[in-house]
Amino acid sequence: MTGITAAGLTGASAHRKRPAELNVLLGLIAIIAVFELLGWLLVGQSFLLNKQRLMIIILQVSIVGIISVGVTQVIITGGIDLSSGSVVGATAMIAMSFAQASTGPAPVYAGLTDLPVLVPVAVGLGMGALAGVVNGSLIAYTKIPPFIATLGMMVAARGISKWYTNGKPVSFPTDSYAMIGKGIMPVVIFALIALLFHLALKYTLYGKHTYAIGSNTEAARISGIKVERHIVLVYAIAGLLAGLAAIVVSSKNLTAQAGMGMMYELDAIAMAVIGGVSLSGGRGSIIGTVLGALIFGVIISGFTFLRIDAYYQEMIKGVIIVVAVVADVARQRKRSRS
């Protein structure tokens, strides 16, 4: 939306002295160093040299991480997606209702238990993509701001998640559905998704068009990009990934609840923003977002590791988000001056 057309069309980091991702990486290392130091001083053990902790640092951000990969692409087009958390809630409820085992008490559809795992997965991905298509179409064709369109979806999808079973949780999935989010599976899925879209954004026409639209929509249109169609596609992908996250989170927890995914959208946006994705569009990368997600994971684990009072944790988290953006803005201003 800001007029850096050249940078947008040739890829975000074409002529940058120090890529934004490097700064995020340095930030991540600095935060780890602080926890490592405090760990030895206060707890008497290493923060990082602990296999189980390394695992949970990544595992606990994998599900929101999957969403943030979609949100990153939406933000690069100059948009925003506030609906992903609610879409996770609604999709998890609906997908789980097709994944129930006949051995559990009171399934939602008594005649539809023990279905092959492909059914709930297809339902989940389909519902997520559908929500995304609705978001994208509203934004591209009615020209209402993305904030409003996805806000509407956020409220409506949460309504669906409550209405679907009158607020009752849906639990007791089949063993095959439970495998999807078991153990390190969420990390594997997150890594594959991140890699896939990293390649797509960096090396394909899809990626070039995404950056071009975010940098300067009119220039993109003049250069022959079908802007509306592309925006629908990007939001559909974001919705699909929210659907995937819903499948993974409901499988991992062996339950779907109407309140599931609450605030995930904000965590996903925060991960992208900490990772250097610019809210004004046209700039950012999946690598940055993955690093942003890792910073989130390190902070959550670090707080529990140091046994920081629960009341302080959210306050500190908020400060870190704002500091990350302030640093990013300051760095950009410096670059545009030089």
Binding site: Q52, R53, Q257
Partner: protein, 313 residues
């Protein structure tokens, strides 16, 4: 012609609603398992009563929205109002509004701050929150003693920090541990999971990664207890060596108890509270006397008596 017809049908609609007893219900939030059982308890009970209709609204955990809903109920002239308060310290304005309009008001499940000064046509139906955490912790204490522990490390998983039940249940845990009988228990850390299974899973795994030895996990609700159990099982902790307690006796929790993973939970009669609140509201609307505090008791659930609770929640 068309207009008169519409007027007539509208008038008859008004007449039917005026004849029936219409109760306005404002729930703190719809997407909470326990409150859903309570809400369904209300609607099912009202369905068995002739001429009683419920209008149930979702306050979406928003104090201001809830007060608006109550004012809307008053404006539409309901016979009585049932409120499940979002924030128990924000109830004075609700009581005042209903009292000024002369409409009976019943608080359900969460104790309003002005419970001692409620007007005559207002009441409070709930379980005594001081019992839940106490029953839970006393049973955990008993099991640990039975296992011959002389000192025990405890992790506490709290619910939402701004929630009165979470604050109360956590206080109960501290109170029981302060008694000489259970003073061998020591809390090594307490953190919040916001009532959520996923967050409890993450929290427990983070605790496990510190390698500190522990004997019991006491959670403010079953969902958190189940999350902790899932994390421990994923890390290969022997569930027979850890005592895990929750509150609510949900279906999922009873399944976990049957599997031998969950040791203690506490049943709060959600449907009973829902039914009790409608009863109290109807009595007040008909001008009958009602106890201002109606307590529906909590019950301890262990593997020994869990079968009784299978169909209750």
């Amino acid at each position: 012609m068309k207009k008169t017809l519409m007027m007539a049908s509208f008038a008859s609609l008004m007449a039917t609603t005026a004849m029936a007893e219409n109760i306005g219900v404002s729930m703190a939030l719809f997407d909470d398992n326990f409150l859903t059982v309570l809400r369904n308890g209300m609607t099912e009970y009202a369905g068995t009563l002739d001429g009683v209709t419920l209008q149930v609204e979702d306050a979406g955990n928003d104090v201001a929205k809830q007060l608006d809903q109550i004012n809307n109920f008053i404006a539409s002239g309901v016979s009585a109002i049932v409120v499940n308060p979002v924030d128990t310290s924000a109830t004075q304005a609700m009581s005042d509004a209903a009292a000024a309009a002369g409409i009976p008001l019943v608080y359900v499940n969460r104790e309003p701050i002005n419970v001692a000064t409620l007007p005559d046509n207002q009441a409070f139906v709930a379980s005594n929150e001081a019992d839940s955490g106490t029953l839970e912790t006393q049973e955990v204490c008993r099991i640990l003693k039975e296992a011959g522990k002389t000192e025990a490390n405890i992790y506490v998983i709290m619910g939402e920090l701004s929630n009165q039940a979470a604050v109360m249940r956590t206080k109960d845990i501290h109170d029981v541990i302060a008694t000489p009988d259970c003073s061998f228990m020591k809390i090594i850390d307490e953190q919040t999971s916001n009532w959520q299974r996923d967050q409890a899973q993450t929290l427990m795994t983070n605790w496990l990664s510190t390698g500190t030895a522990f004997d019991a996990v006491i959670a403010n609700n079953d969902e958190s207890a189940i999350g902790a159990i899932q994390a421990m099982k994923a890390s290969g902790v022997d569930m027979a060596s850890v005592v895990v307690g929750g509150v609510d006796a949900t279906q999922d929790a009873l399944a976990a108890m049957a599997a031998g993973d969950l040791d203690v939970t506490v049943f709060q009669d959600a449907a009973g509270q829902g039914k009790g609140s409608i009863d109290a509201a109807l009595k007040l609307a008909r001008g009958e006397a009602v106890d201002q505090k109606v307590y529906i008791p909590f019950q301890l659930v262990t593997p020994a008596n869990m079968a009784e609770f299978q169909t209750k929640n």
